[in-house]
């Protein structure tokens, strides 16, 4: 008898970015959770970390992660719904807190308890991102992790600088999808400008293929703000929806640049985006990027495959607004709960005799 095909394991996701509360950040975060929870067999979120965000930004990400995890475990008895994720990473020197994240964090339920509980109150409740990302990588098999970068390269550059960090990345990671650098225009990407040295180090030393997604690719496919504001039907209150409502509304549309990094990392072969020829990206002292085509290059630029726009827009909407699947209870837990019930019944019986 032939063995059946081996069940594909979910790709592990290391997600590093920003949480300033703008719609792009929120759409990217919702896309990450959509990829991780709508079909957990496809992707598994290993770590979430931030650069240049306030402690409140990390608290919000922690709250959102717990919110999705709880929904995923909704069929489990409450005492088995404990969040098992690693802490949120946050680079030091955090930025200002946005009302988009402080609003949901302050929300209370009908009993006066936090509506979105979380365990981040001070910087020490967050993790050093470099250690966190390294530790997340160690949990996975070789060539089973994709890295998503939606902000400055600060944290990933620090992982590269750890003792054995580059070798670990090389063995575990298949791809880095980075919303970093604006090769299509002459402007300097704020993600690069925020830490030019880190971007230089990243493109020079990162040992796996890198795809870069510029601002043009994100602007070429925008989402209606209602995708974030009203499309979520499965929960009465939702942290990302609440954050969007509480945040700034300077534009009627949302760029998919950061979300694209997450989607491509999980489904690189889906054909949603077009890859450029291989080459090498270098970063100038001022933060300007240049791309030199070369057959041996590990870097590619990503552009929108124009024929896919509508289907892709719908896909993003589905990921952002979709309900996590319900995790099936493992057999051992079912048996354990059954044993407990039996024991309780016997004790009750004994006490009445």
């Amino acid at each position: 008898m032939q063995a059946g095909p081996e069940k594909a394991k979910p790709i592990g996701l290391i997600v590093d970015g920003e949480m300033r509360g703008d719609a792009n950040d929120l759409a990217a975060l919702a896309t990450v959770f959509g990829l991780g929870y709508l079909d957990p067999a496809e992707a598994s979120i290993l770590t979430l970390s931030l650069t240049g965000s306030a402690v409140e930004g990390a608290a919000f990400v922690d709250a959102a992660a717990r919110f999705y995890s709880k929904e995923w475990l909704r069929d489990f008895p409450e005492r088995f719904q404990r969040y098992r994720g690693l802490p949120v990473g946050l680079s030091e020197g955090p930025g200002p807190a946005s009302p988009a994240v402080t609003g949901p964090l302050a929300a209370k339920d009908s009993e006066g308890e936090p509506l979105y509980p979380n365990e981040v109150h001070t910087l020490t409740d967050t993790a050093d991102p470099a250690a966190l990302i390294r530790n997340g990588l160690t949990t996975r098999e070789d060539q089973s992790v994709a890295v998503v970068l939606t902000g400055p390269a600060t944290n990933l550059a620090r992982v590269l600088g750890l003792n054995g960090g580059r070798e670990l990345i090389k063995s575990k990671v298949t791809l880095l999808a980075a919303a970093l650098g604006d090769l299509a225009s002459n402007t300097i990407d704020p993600h690069v400008a925020a830490d030019v040295e880190a971007a230089r180090k990243l493109f020079a030393e990162w040992p796996t293929p890198i795809v870069t997604i510029g601002r043009a690719a994100g602007e070429a496919l925008t989402l209606d703000r209602k995708t974030l504001a009203t499309d979520v039907k499965w929960a009465e209150r939702h942290p990302i929806v609440d954050a969007h409502r509480a945040g700034p509304s300077s534009s009627s549309t949302v760029s998919t640049r950061e979300a694209a990094a997450a989607l491509y990392a999980v489904r690189p072969k889906a054909g949603y985006y077009q890859e450029s020829e291989p080459g090498l990206v270098s970063v100038g002292a001022d933060g300007a990027l240049s791309f030199e085509p070369t057959a041996e290059g590990r870097h590619r630029r990503l552009g929108l495959a124009s024929s896919n726009s509508e289907a892709l827009r719908q896909l993003y909407a589905d990921l952002i607004s979709g309900q996590p699947s319900a995790r099936e209870m493992p057999e051992f837990l079912k048996k354990f709960i059954e044993r407990e019930k039996q024991k309780a019944l016997e004790e009750e019986k004994a006490s009445t005799q």
Binding site: T126, A130, N135
Partner: protein, 445 residues
């Protein structure tokens, strides 16, 4: 009159015996400043198994130490000598892809920082932090390091879900494949430190012990000669030191006498006190002498082996320690775990009291030491490897400002602590295992 300087390596000798000396003022040049730095720094690790009840360990505050939680209460008199460290993580102790076996992994990883190979036979860990220091400073002392323990345990076979007993029963590793088993029998330690009859059988040793004099009798002529050269402070220090050696001898004789009465059916090694607290005290008394006399500057002390199921009948707990830690949140089981944790801490605290009382330079032996008390798991019920219960006792020769709780960021590698202590011991390295840097805040008030 210029006082003659006594060599740091001087010994009291006589009739085949040699007794090292404690640190005396006469060992520093006359009229020189006797700062604590004049004495050597010592580094050691005291390890307790199966995690600790963290609700009874972690205070709710950071900064200056105030009220201590229940497990730490015995350390109340030493609050100003201890530094509590929060959020240290041993990532190498986690499962990664290796499944069950957290006890084997956590102990193997504790001082090596290595995710040990899952095997009962083909073991592989890494050189432990203490041994890196021992390799560097060991040439200055008779013993590069001492490895002590209290629980008899085998070195081979499967001790935890496919992990070798070498991982659960050792802390120190000389190489990737060579653990350094702790010495469990106080008599063996004594003979290693002071005697030459370790090759004898237990029966021969017992016979000799019954008839022989104190080791101090053999060196009495040398002692008298030295005493004439010393000032009053040094004379007192020397008297106290020699008295502590005599006291250890008497404890050993007592333990051997008591064990002679024990039914041989009890699997108790000869010379090991039946009482846990007594065993702990005897071992730490000898460790104190070894540190005081600069016979070693580095030690590890595996209180009981990782995953230990030792019962604690002496405090009314007949249940095994390890099974109790899998309490499933039952209050009566948790209570017993807390009592065991506290009992360990009481023994440790009594030892610290002793180290504190031994004058050395302008301070104490404890001032010149850095003794880490900790475990390779935090919550033994859940087998968690983050926020490990960890404290440093001592001032590291003026390099650590204690009396505080320092909360580090989550996932801060335990290896950062090892690296910081190794640096203080003179090992000039920038990385160790999975360290991300030195542990911040140790020397800040």
């Amino acid at each position: 009159m210029m006082r003659k300087k006594l060599s740091r390596r001087a010994l009291l000798r006589g009739a085949g015996a040699a007794v090292a000396l404690p640190f005396l003022d006469a060992m520093t040049p006359a009229f020189a400043s006797t700062t604590p730095d004049a004495a050597p720094r010592r580094m050691g690790y005291v390890y307790v198994p199966n995690g600790i009840d963290m609700k009874s360990w972690n205070p709710t505050y950071s900064g200056a130490l105030d009220a201590l939680p229940r497990v730490l209460k015995p350390m109340e008199p030493h609050k100003q000598e201890m530094t509590l460290l929060a959020n240290l993580t041993s990532n190498a102790g986690r499962a990664w892809l290796d499944g069950a076996g957290d006890h084997g992994r956590c102990c193997g990883a504790y001082l090596t920082g290595v995710h040990v190979r899952k095997s009962a036979v083909d073991i592989q860990a890494g050189v432990s932090a203490d041994q890196i220091v021992a390799n560097q400073v060991g040439e200055h002392t008779r013993f590069p390091s001492l490895e002590l323990g209290l629980e008899d345990a085998r070195q081979a076979g499967n001790c935890d879900s496919g992990y070798s007993c070498a991982y659960t029963n050792n802390m120190a590793w000389r190489s990737e494949t060579s653990p350094m088993p702790p010495t469990l029998n106080p008599r063996d330690v004594f003979e290693r430190l002071f005697g030459k009859d370790a090759h004898l059988t237990p029966e021969q040793r017992a016979q000799r012990a019954r008839f022989r004099s104190s080791i101090l009798d053999f060196v009495s002529a040398d002692t008298r000669s030295l005493q004439r050269e010393l000032g009053p402070t040094d004379k007192r220090k020397l008297d106290e030191y020699l008295s502590s050696i005599r006291s250890i001898e008497q404890q050993l004789e007592k333990a051997e006498f008591e064990n002679a009465e024990i039914d041989p059916g009890l699997d108790k090694p000869y010379g090991v006190p039946a009482d846990f607290a007594e065993h702990f005290r005897l071992m730490t008394d000898m460790l104190t002498v070894a540190l005081q006399s600069d016979m070693t500057r580095v030690f590890t002390f595996l209180v009981t082996r990782e995953g230990s199921s030792r019962p604690y009948r002496e405090i009314g707990i007949p249940d095994g320690h390890h099974p109790l830690t899998h309490h499933r949140n039952q209050d009566d089981w948790i209570e017993k775990v807390i009592r065991i944790n506290t009992y360990h801490m009481e023994q440790f605290s009594a030892w610290i009291e002793k180290l504190k009382s031994i004058e050395e330079g302008d301070g104490s032996l404890l001032d010149n030491s850095m003794i880490v008390y900790g475990a390779g798991l935090s919550d033994g019920n859940m087998h968690l490897h983050h926020d490990l219960p960890t404290m440093i006792v001592g001032r590291g020769g003026g390099t650590i400002k204690p009396g505080r709780r320092i909360v580090h960021r989550r996932e801060t590698p335990l290896a950062n602590l090892h690296l910081s202590l190794m640096n203080r011991m003179g090992v000039e390295i920038d990385n160790f295992a999975d360290s991300t840097g030195r542990l911040g805040g140790l020397d800040l008030s």
